[in-house]
């Protein structure tokens, strides 16, 4: 027995937007409930934009943005953020690169100063470049080479699904490409992509918006105006025949498999895209989801199954082309063919028979909780708003997401499920080479 549908709540974060004369787009979202702030600067460049022969360069360059700038020696950025009681980081994605801080609210102006200084230009030196190539190689060893299932599926599946370099290549990079990187490469990359016209700044948390605007203008107005480069078209045609590959992971003790299907354009066809987000949750969110119930609990043909949109799992921060992914880990001797066959069967059942009473509403309620929880942290809000501004010019969409999700209908879910056919599917299989 399920109770009647629960009301999906709405957040009401204030959003103020403006653009500086140099082209930098700014979002302010005040919330005075805790004495903390989040600052996010997002540049419209990511893994898909790096040049051939320079795999991993977008990420390596992200590291170089922390190595000092006009008024900041090497190490100064870290010390100034942490010495103000804050934390920092940056991350490189398919379509954007973010830099962020969260700190007690008395550090707002200092954080803006730090971001503005490196927006004018990082200190690019041979010594820092060589040091950070070493650090990045250790990062890749930790996350990919020295562990089982490293890079599965986010680095392993794109080359199966896509044919062009921007979409298919390894975003962490080969050691050869990383070691070939030069200071002039970095300078050129900065000139081309790190223009303030190609960036957004979002500030959330405990501040007075008028004061924050003054501070933003004080620190960012004199960043030289440079136009955004024309954004390349990364479009590729959909698959018409199934693609499937496998590789041996010498550290992995058990088999695993991941499949992906293309989904509608997340930005230009938001209405068509949202049902796929809900579908991924109907299939895999918790013990009452379709594939967990069938594959994990009933058939025991997998030990875990997950579903999400975007190779890096960021449904509202990715552009076309992207995909819905389903990934499973199998028990010893498990059959990948059987798992794929059962998934097809469950997708057919969903497309043909529809959802059970209450199934859609409860999935939407749980998704609302996930979305609200992600934005409870002041930094989670700043990051999401900065990317929503960058990619959609609509940071206020954050307030509407739970309701947008809740407006997806059963017919839309069925239609979405019906598109996930084997001939549109790209699959990568991990063959265990470890101790079994």
């Amino acid at each position: 027995m399920e109770t009647s549908n629960i009301q999906i709540p709405r957040t009401a974060y204030e959003v103020e937007r403006f653009t500086l004369a140099n082209g930098l787009r700014v979002v302010l979202s005040p919330d005075r409930s805790a004495p903390v702030i989040g600052v996010a600067v997002v540049y419209d460049v990511g893994i898909r934009s790096e040049p051939e022969g320079r795999t991993g360069f977008a990420h390596l360059f992200e590291h170089l943005m922390f190595q000092g700038s006009a008024n900041l020696e090497k190490l100064a950025h870290f010390r100034h953020v942490q010495g103000a009681g804050g934390t920092f980081n940056g991350s490189t994605h398919l379509d954007y690169t973010d830099y962020y801080e969260t700190a007690p609210s008395n550090a707002l102006e200092r954080m803006l100063f730090l971001e503005a200084d490196r927006m004018r230009g990082p200190r690019l030196t041979e010594e820092n470049l060589r040091n950070q190539i070493d650090v990045v190689k250790e990062e890749i060893r930790v996350n990919v080479l020295n562990r089982p299932y490293g890079g599965f599926p986010w680095l392993k599946l794109p080359p199966v699904m896509f044919d062009t370099f921007p979409n298919a290549h390894d975003g962490y990079g080969s050691f050869l490409d990383l070691e070939s990187a030069t200071v002039p490469d970095a300078a050129e990359f900065f000139d081309r992509y790190y223009a303030c016209g190609n960036a957004t700044l979002a500030v959330s948390g405990d501040f007075d918006p008028a004061h924050a605007r003054t501070l933003v203008e004080r620190h960012f107005s004199d960043v030289p105006a440079r136009p955004a480069p024309a954004r390349a078209d990364f479009a590729e045609p959909d698959l018409t025949t199934e693609r499937r590959e496998s590789y041996v992971d010498s550290l992995a003790p058990l088999p695993a498999v991941a499949s992906a299907w293309r989904v509608p354009d997340p930005v230009n066809d938001f209405e068509g895209y949202l049902p796929y987000m809900v579908l991924a949750e109907v299939l895999t969110d918790g013990d009452a989801s379709r594939l967990v119930e069938r594959l994990v609990l009933k058939d025991r043909s997998v030990t875990s199954v997950g579903g999400y949109i975007g190779f890096m799992g960021e449904p509202f921060e990715v552009r076309d082309p992207t995909a819905l992914l389903l990934q499973s880990h199998l028990p010893p001797g498990g059959s990948v063919d059987k798992v794929l066959g059962t998934i097809d069967e469950e997708l057919d059942r969903l497309a043909n028979d529809g959802l059970t009473a209450g199934e859609l509403a409860r999935t939407q309620a749980r998704l609302a909780t996930h979305l609200l929880r992600e934005t409870d942290a002041v930094l989670g809000r700043a990051l999401r708003m900065a990317v929503l501004e960058l990619q959609r010019g609509n940071p206020g969409l954050l307030n509407d997401l739970p309701h947008a999700i809740a407006s997806v209908t059963e017919d839309q879910i069925r239609a979405a499920a019906a598109t996930l056919r084997p001939q549109r599917r790209a699959t990568i299989e991990v063959v265990p080479g470890g101790n079994q």
């Binding site: 709540p9 957040t11 805790a34 942490q82 100063f113 992995a252 509403a361 309620a365 609200l372």
Partner: protein, 438 residues
């Protein structure tokens, strides 16, 4: 163009959220905290669970929500989802922790379902079998992960004879667990005496405590409690080398003694650890990452468990620089143990410690985690204010004294997991090495 770094504005003082607390007649303590930032509620139920069988408790954590006399796994999950909710259980050598959340309008239902499971979990045969197999598979995967293997070796090295020495059951032990053993463990140990329920969210604390009393007041209080002996004193000694042929990185771990949250040395030790390696802008991280490029994410943390505290230094370093990374690590520990840090280093660490307390309290999930963890040590959120005052008061002399006592290489227990053939000779040139016997 030279621009001056902006000064910090005046800080807003740490203020504690509105809260209510009551201990129910069955022994359950309920703490409700108001943080209305989003229309959700976070739930943490911490039940003391020391001295339970390792494999059985691990499987119990996986099957607590696998069915009651009237509901299946799927029905429980679906009913939780209906209010935007989810609940799960985790186990460590100290406690069982149920964690979850829901839309705040679903709090009553969330508590009702939790109570039903606590009263009436049946551990169905089929589900127990499924979950034991899943857990066994996960353990097998963990055994191929260097971070897990290094931790296993370190725990065994530093907690001999103590229940903390082995924290992961074997695959065979997990597969041997029977449903009736879980039912017996539930009846014996999963009871409200000594347990704490924390609720944080867009709630009225008094009303939430009232509601929790109504829903969980009938949870049966019979059963036994168990206390762990204190952890053994850390015995310094040779570096333990654990062979992992073909490893492209070595996992370096160094255990050092530490003290609990209420010990007079704790605030100073926290600051000394930061100056050494406890945050990015520390001597050790700036040295082995930003200067030498030996590693990506080195960290040094004080881990608090009910039976004692330990400081653990961790880094994954390229195989070929294992010995030099060890040299730099011992150098930075020894430097702080023998020379006081600068005033600027102390102030920077102090600001970071104080600031991150504020950040940790600024989300519902953060507050819930803090309140629940503190409750497990008999503390409440006012500890945050007291600890802040102690951090603010710590002097350079305090830092120098605790560094000599707790951070000295002479009191350390080092472990390295890596390719012995490639690293042993160089590491043995730095410190005495003992190779783990197979």
């Amino acid at each position: 163009m030279t621009l001056a770094l902006p000064e910090l504005d005046e800080n807003r003082p740490l203020s504690l959220p509105l809260q209510a607390e009551r201990t129910l007649p069955n022994g359950l303590t309920v703490i409700a905290i108001r943080r209305p930032s989003v229309p959700l509620v976070e739930l943490r139920l911490r039940v003391p669970f020391a001295k339970t069988d390792l494999a059985r408790s691990a499987v119990l954590g996986q099957t607590l929500f696998s069915g009651t006399s009237t509901k299946s796994t799927v029905q429980i999950a679906a009913e939780l989802q209906t209010v935007g909710g989810g609940l799960g259980a985790g186990i460590d050598p100290d406690r069982l922790l149920v964690s979850g959340n829901s839309l705040v309008s679903g709090l009553d239902r969330l508590l009702e379902l939790l109570a039903e499971v606590l009263d009436d979990a049946v551990y169905p045969d089929g589900e127990v079998d499924t979950e034991s197999e899943r857990l066994a598979d996960r353990i097998q995967v963990a055994q191929s992960q260097p971070a897990h293997l290094a931790r296993v070796a370190l725990l065994k090295r530093i907690y001999p004879g103590h229940p903390y020495a082995v924290q992961t059951p074997s695959v065979d032990e997990v597969r041997a667990v029977r449903p009736e053993e879980l039912r017996a463990m539930h009846a014996e140990r999963l009871h409200p005496a000594g347990a704490t329920l924390v609720l944080v969210g867009d709630i009225d604390p008094e009303q939430a405590v009232e509601l929790a009393g109504k829903r969980l007041g009938g949870w049966n209080g019979q059963g036994t409690q168990a206390e762990l002996p204190a952890i053994p004193d850390l015995v310094p000694g040779p570096l333990l080398l654990v062979d992992r042929p073909g490893a492209v990185q070595s996992s370096l771990r160094i255990a050092l003694p530490a003290v609990g949250r209420t010990h007079p040395d704790h605030a100073a030790l926290q600051l000394a650890n930061m100056v050494f390696g406890g945050y990015f802008s520390s001597r050790w991280v700036e040295n082995i990452r930003e200067d030498k490029g030996y590693t990506y994410g080195p960290h040094s943390v004080i881990e608090h468990s009910v039976a004692g505290s330990t400081l653990t230094v961790s880094a994954e370093v390229a195989t070929e620089v294992t010995a030099p990374a060890l040299v730099e690590t011992l150098y930075e520990l020894g430097r702080l143990a023998s020379l006081p840090p600068s005033e600027a280093e102390l102030e920077q660490a102090r600001q970071y410690a104080l600031g991150t307390l504020q950040l940790g309290m600024s989300t519902q999930a953060g507050l819930a985690g803090l309140a629940s963890t503190y409750a497990g040590f008999g503390l409440r959120l006012n500890y945050l204010a007291e600890h802040s005052a102690r951090l603010a008061a710590a002097t350079l002399d305090d830092i120098a004294r605790v560094a000599r006592t707790y951070l000295a290489p002479a009191v350390s227990a080092p472990v390295i997991l890596g390719d012995a053939e490639k690293i042993q000779a160089a590491v043995a040139a730095i410190v005495p090495v003992q190779v783990e016997s197979k």
